[in-house]
């Protein structure tokens, strides 16, 4: 049918794994922002949810690293992380291989992607699903954009990927939701963990809300690394959403830098 929901949210493992170490107000306001996002997602009545996440060496390594990959399994297992460490129980999550393959074939008309019939979720998908589909009843289609290390797909390709994904969603009869997950500025799993460049984040989010293509694609990876850390490469996920929703305004519903979660925690969605 079409794209019925497009949003973004954070996926940092600390959000669930280190919740007990957080200031209660930080935790409660963020968790309630996730609840609001879940309600908006549910109200769109999706048949399936595509999660575009930068994954973190759960399935892909430098022996065979796809720039873009879409999952096509009938079920997924996650999280790969120790359930106690992440604060999320390991479980099976439903997929829809037939729908995945139709979407993959349509995306391939515009952008070359890899596909995977086996996929284990890491915190990049498991943390968002913990809040957004807590009953795990919705079919999930995972997407990875390599944001871990160079060579990285250029930002304009992340935009083009989003555009291709939108075209594919519009061509299938199902109601499709997309959520892209990732950090904005952050220095995860480094001695700098907890550092957040709030001014940089706000500038980025302003460009994201406006869907300002030129401004969004103007960052160089060198600048992003300097100003927004290793985790900053995950802006590709946000940019894919902008590419999928050209001409629509987006709104940030929650943004707060929370150092113990190691990222400026964010939820936002597009006014489709």
């Amino acid at each position: 049918m079409s794209l019925v929901f497009a949003g973004v949210c954070s996926h940092a493992p600390g959000i669930t794994g280190r919740a007990h170490m957080a200031d209660p107000d930080d935790k409660e306001t963020l968790y309630s922002a996730f609840d609001d996002m879940r309600e908006a997602l549910e109200a769109s009545k999706p048949d399936a949810l595509i999660v575009i996440a930068a994954e973190h060496f759960a399935n892909f390594f430098m022996n065979n690293m796809p720039a873009y990959c879409i999952g096509a399994a009938d079920e997924y297992e996650g999280p790969i992380e120790d359930p106690k460490w992440l604060g999320i129980e390991r479980r099976l999550i439903p997929g829809n291989p037939e729908l995945s393959k139709r979407i993959i074939a349509k995306v391939m008309k515009d952008v070359d992607v890899a596909y995977a019939e086996e996929w284990k979720f890491d915190h990049g998908i498991s943390v968002p699903l913990h809040f957004l589909t807590p009953e795990y009843e919705l079919d999930i289609i995972p997407v990875n954009i390599n944001c871990q290390g160079p060579p990285l797909s250029p930002l304009h390709r992340a935009w083009a990927f989003g555009q291709a994904l939108r075209k594919a969603c519009d061509e299938v009869p199902e109601r499709i939701a997309i959520v892209a997950t990732g950090g904005i500025s952050h220095w995860p799993a480094t001695p700098d963990s907890g550092k957040i460049n709030e001014a940089w984040d706000k500038e980025f989010l302003q460009r994201w809300c406006a869907g300002d293509k030129d401004a969004l694609l103007s960052y160089t990876d060198e600048e992003t690394w300097q100003d927004a850390g290793q985790g900053g490469f995950e802006i590709r996920a946000f940019i894919a959403i902008s590419g999928a929703t050209i001409g629509s305004q987006a709104k940030v519903h929650y943004y707060r830098p929370i150092p113990i979660f190691a990222v400026g925690c964010t939820t936002g969605w597009v006014d489709l």
């Binding site: 973190h56 060496f57 290390g149």
Partner: protein
């Protein structure tokens, strides 16, 4: 320098519970499958998270090994900070620190 091999070992270990048990029982049997320098070998055997960080292991790979070795989050961050004081900055890769002063 065989950072690739060190990271490959840890990547496989992180997602394979059975391999984790084998590693804890007999780490040499696992490590023989990877071409490691003596320094990398020793850092893995000694579970020297700080040195592995200095050698350039990607944080998204290392943080799981740190958890597997029983380090709580603040201990993991501190191990990397201590290693910076001992060894100087990360030798290669993206995980070079910019200031090492983030707030845990």
């Amino acid at each position: 320098m065989s950072l690739y091999q060190t990271q490959k070992l840890l990547y496989q270990l992180n997602k394979d519970v059975q391999m984790q048990a084998s590693f804890l029982a007999d780490h040499e049997a696992i490590m023989n499958n990877f071409k490691l320098t003596q320094e990398e070998h020793d850092a893995l055997v000694n579970k020297d998270i700080g040195l592995l960080y200095i050698l350039g292991v990607n944080g998204q790979i290392l943080m799981h090994f740190a958890a597997m070795c029983g380090l709580a989050w603040p201990e993991y961050i501190q191990a990397m900070r201590d290693a910076l004081a001992i060894h100087g900055n990360v030798r290669t890769g993206l995980y070079v620190t910019t200031d090492g002063k983030g707030a845990v």
